[in-house]
């Protein structure tokens, strides 16, 4: 399998993401610079990593979402290529219009850096097939702008279509309906604030993120 990790100026979890992908799949991903306009031929998984792309100027993810590589990512997503956006990657996906809603400043205004108790709401997606329905996990979060917002109709639609992949088990950052991760309509794009790539090795002290990569990369292998 061929995966790609997109690197924006200010990304800082790109190498963690690459390590997690290589650890699970046995193949190192291509690191793709934001100024490239094409993905490597045959890319069958794209990851948008965490960080502070463009210094969070204007809005978190706003500038990155308009960078040249994102046109290729949007085209690939439309063709069904799986796209995972973590933290800043989730913000980029909403800003690019690949996922509904927006990520606002945490309700408590503080930067949050801790393990977040989560529940798997949809275990049928390609990203969450490694988990059981309703399974409880704890995955690290590290964000200032993770407060998921969308209008009530959009939230009802996400609930009705099973597109809420993960929910916080209690209010963490003010997110509407405690949403921690959402899927697109086709189910091939997932954005989530928690960092599964930070919970894949014994040294991390937490292996709860491992099955996301195992499930997804197992499907793609």
């Amino acid at each position: 399998m061929r995966s790609a990790v997109i690197v924006f100026p200010g990304s800082n979890c790109d190498r963690d993401m690459a390590r997690a992908i290589e650890l699970v799949s046995g193949h190192a991903p291509q690191m793709v610079w934001h100024k490239d306009s094409e993905l490597p031929a045959g890319t069958d998984f794209i990851a948008l990593p965490g960080g502070f792309s463009y210094g969070d100027y204007l809005r978190s993810g706003a500038m990155a979402a308009r960078s040249p590589i994102m046109r290729a990512v949007i085209d690939a997503a439309a063709r069904g290529t799986p796209v995972l956006g973590v933290c800043n990657g989730f913000q980029v996906l909403t800003e690019a219009g690949l996922l509904p809603g927006a990520l606002m400043r945490n309700a408590g205004l503080h930067f949050l850096c801790k393990d977040a108790p989560l529940r798997v709401e949809n275990s049928q997606s390609i990203f969450t097939s490694g988990y059981g329905a309703g399974e409880e996990l704890a995955i690290p979060i590290a964000h200032h702008d993770g407060n998921y917002a969308a209008d009530a109709d959009t939230l009802d639609m996400l609930e009705g279509e099973g597109r809420i992949a993960f929910r916080y088990r209690s209010d963490v950052n003010g997110s509407a309906r405690n949403i921690a991760g959402v899927l697109n309509t086709a189910g091939n794009v997932l954005g989530m604030m928690p960092h599964p790539e930070r919970a894949v090795e014994t040294a991390h002290g937490n292996l709860d993120g491992l099955r996301l990569f195992q499930g997804l990369l197992g499907v793609l292998a």
């Binding site: 204007l58 809005r59 706003a62 308009r66 909403t94 800003e95 509904p100 809603g101 927006a102 606002m104 400043r105 945490n106 309700a107 408590g108 205004l109 407060n147 917002a149 969308a150 003010g174």
Partner: protein, 76 residues
């Protein structure tokens, strides 16, 4: 030519920063402040002849996130 753009949160969207500013004003003794909404103000230096439609397009494509924000254009 200078154009001003005001980006504000839509009514009903919770504004944690505005709420913190409200609390801070209360702390300073301004008890009459009921609510504060924080927004963004941009000045654009654009070529003469730039139309409002073009600035509107800039707002929709980048300057505002219309999921949560409204914008107002002035000076054109």
């Amino acid at each position: 030519m200078k154009v001003e753009v005001f980006v504000t949160l839509k009514p009903g969207v919770l504004d944690p920063q505005g709420r913190a500013i409200t609390h801070a004003l209360h702390g300073l003794g301004f008890a009459g402040v009921e609510d504060v909404r924080a927004g963004r103000y941009l000045t654009l230096d654009v070529a003469d002849g730039t139309t409002e439609a073009e600035v509107r397009e800039m707002c929709q494509q980048l300057l505002a996130n219309t999921v949560i924000e409204n914008f107002r254009i002035s000076g054109i």
